[in-house]
């Protein structure tokens, strides 16, 4: 029998498996047990669906399993919970979003794609724009040479996610629509909305001020450190479990303090409910630029320059 140690690369990833087991159990309970079709289960399913998207994000940066086959199967399975192929994250997130650039054009999920004056509408509407742009981009990218393996995996995930949802719908349309599809879409659209929260008003050209972080410890525990976005962009290869340590070491001393939000909930209330208009863009990278301009060369270099200057004189 395969030992736990050899199954997963990191023992912390059991949390991700647990998340998926809980989510699938919630969906199954609501589908099969009428008494479970209540507000508590629905809200919990919506929340775990969002975590499903976080799991997809994490697994598409780093496969959890040692076995490539298991990683591939896992990707197929986790696609169902959010009704989109997990592999879409490779071009959309890993390649485009991490560079804030699509061959010179904006990121498919750039916050600038929505422009309602009432900012709450931007939060609601954002997935309507970013979603189709993302999938149009993924479709174009997947037609390119050398993407055969991607296309094969993508198709499998697509067939499984839509196929299983379709089968469930064939047996019970309404229960599937209300208690499977609504949570699925909530998670898929939620992870797109996060782009607006994490980058709106930030300076994506800067090294340390391109992202907003939600630094609450409890929040990050339940979200697998998804709130620590600056360090994730700068060191995409880090495992999610290591982000807090690296955020404290590298980001905290350098980032504009306004981009470290203690609470996402308070941020949502403050920015989208208490302030109707979209906040003005602040120059969050000002200190970073000024520091770069004022920064000195290493001491050895300065000593050398001083010595040369003294000789000339």
């Amino acid at each position: 029998m395969t030992s736990t140690k050899s199954l997963l690369k990191r023992s912390e990833d059991w949390r991700q498996i647990a998340i998926m087991v809980v989510y699938w159990s919630l969906l199954a309970a609501m589908y099969f047990v009428p008494s479970c079709r209540n507000l508590g289960f629905l809200i919990a399913a919506g929340y775990f669906s969002f975590l499903n998207s976080v799991v997809i994000h994490n697994c598409l940066h780093q496969g959890m399993f040692h076995s490539a086959r298991l990683n591939s199967i896992w990707r197929v399975l986790i696609s169902f919970g959010v009704l989109y192929p997990a592999s879409a994250n490779i071009p959309s997130h890993n390649l485009v979003h991490h560079h804030f650039d699509d061959e010179g054009q904006p990121d498919w999920a750039s916050p600038d794609k929505v422009r309602f004056h009432w900012h709450l509408l931007n939060l609601i509407h954002f997935p309507n724009v970013a979603g189709p742009d993302t999938f149009a981009g993924v479709s174009r990218w997947s037609t390119l040479r050398g993407k055969d393996a991607f296309r094969k995996q993508y198709r499998l995930e697509l067939v499984f996610a839509f196929g299983l949802t379709g089968i469930l719908m064939a047996f019970d349309v309404w229960t599937t629509l209300f208690f499977i599809v609504i949570p699925q879409l909530w998670g898929a659209r939620g992870i797109l909305r996060i782009n607006l929260l994490q980058h709106d008003g930030c300076d994506t050209t800067s090294e340390w001020n391109h992202s907003r972080n939600f630094v609450g410890r409890f929040y990050n525990w339940i979200m697998c450190n998804n709130g620590l976005h600056t360090i994730h962009h700068n060191r995409a290869g880090l495992h999610w479990h290591e982000l807090q340590e690296w955020h404290d070491r590298e980001v905290a001393p350098r980032i504009d303090a306004s981009l470290n939000e203690p609470s996402m909930l308070w941020y949502l209330v403050r920015v989208f409910l208490l302030t109707p208009l979209r906040p003005h863009k602040l120059d969050v990278a000002k200190a970073e630029r000024e520091f770069a301009e004022a920064s000195l060369a290493p001491r050895e270099v300065r000593r050398g320059e001083a010595a040369v200057a003294a000789e000339v004189m």
Binding site: S35, F116, V129, G131, P132, D148, V173, F178, I182
Partner: protein
């Protein structure tokens, strides 16, 4: 327990919110077009007498593209991705109302080429083999599609007219197509989209609400509402892209040569 009626209302609220937001976003496009139409009201017709650029080019619109090799089982192909758009007046003279006026070069201008001319400039020009070799690399095949407005062309301009010269300032337009007709067509398209999407939404809702609620016809309505929800978003984005001003309209495109194996000789050329 959440009743079907309650969840049905919730589902309809989601679909209607989405439909209304798509219409709202389209209204923003409409406001942009209305502003553009106000500016274009001052457009006057002119003829390019001379152009200071190559081959008598008076103005040029450029699309910076990168081409990447397509994966085709029955041939070879290149897909083009737009990187940047730019416009430039290269200088020359224009005939406006019987007077010949000087124009100095500027970059502060929007050049609107005709879509037909742009497509012609972007077509496979015989450089396929060399382009494909580069398109297969990580860097890709870089090209700039330049669409010039040249000597003898009739143009529409929005600019400041002096006694001896035409001054193009920020926000000025020089167009190879009638810009007022263009903007009117695009406004009609957006209105049509808004009206149609709301009508379809209403129709889907009515089917979903056919009695008995949650019966077979109503179920078809529910599935239609889901299909509407999934389809209206990409359609809305297509409309948004379709009303981009011609100076920044997406070009993209593909070069395809079917009937040949990778690395082989050219066969049938298909655009």
């Amino acid at each position: 327990m959440l009743s079907r009626e309650m969840m049905g209302l919730f589902g309809l609220a989601i679909v209607w919110t989405t439909g209304l937001l798509m219409a709202g976003a389209a209204l923003y496009n409409l406001a942009d077009l209305r502003r553009l139409r106000r500016k274009l009201a001052a457009a006057i017709e002119a003829t390019i007498v001379t152009g200071s650029g190559e081959n008598g080019a008076f103005a040029v619109q450029r699309v910076d593209q990168v081409g990447r090799a397509l994966d085709m089982s029955d041939g070879r192909g290149i897909a083009f991705f737009d990187r940047a758009f730019s416009s430039e007046v290269l200088g020359g003279t224009l005939e406006v109302g019987g007077r010949t006026l000087e124009v100095v070069p500027t970059l502060d201008v929007s050049v609107w080429p005709s879509p037909h001319a742009k497509a012609k400039r972007a077509a496979d020009d015989g450089a396929f083999d060399a382009a494909f070799a580069q398109a297969k690399t990580a860097r890709g095949y870089s090209r700039v599609v330049e669409t010039p407005l040249t000597t003898g062309d009739k143009v529409w301009i929005v600019a400041e007219l002096g006694t001896r010269e035409v001054v193009f300032v920020r926000g000025s337009v020089v167009s190879a197509i009638d810009p007022r007709a263009w903007v009117n067509r695009k406004m009609q398209l957006v209105w049509f989209f808004i009206a149609l999407e709301l009508l379809v939404l209403l129709a889907c809702t009515m089917v979903a609400l056919v009695r008995p609620w949650f019966g077979p016809v109503s179920a078809v309505g529910g599935v239609l509402c889901l299909a509407y929800f999934l389809a209206i978003q990409p359609i809305g984005n297509t409309i948004r892209d379709a009303v981009r001003a011609p100076c920044i309209a997406f070009l993209r495109g593909e070069w395809k040569r079917r009937g040949e194996v990778a690395g082989g000789r050219a066969g049938v050329v298909v655009r």
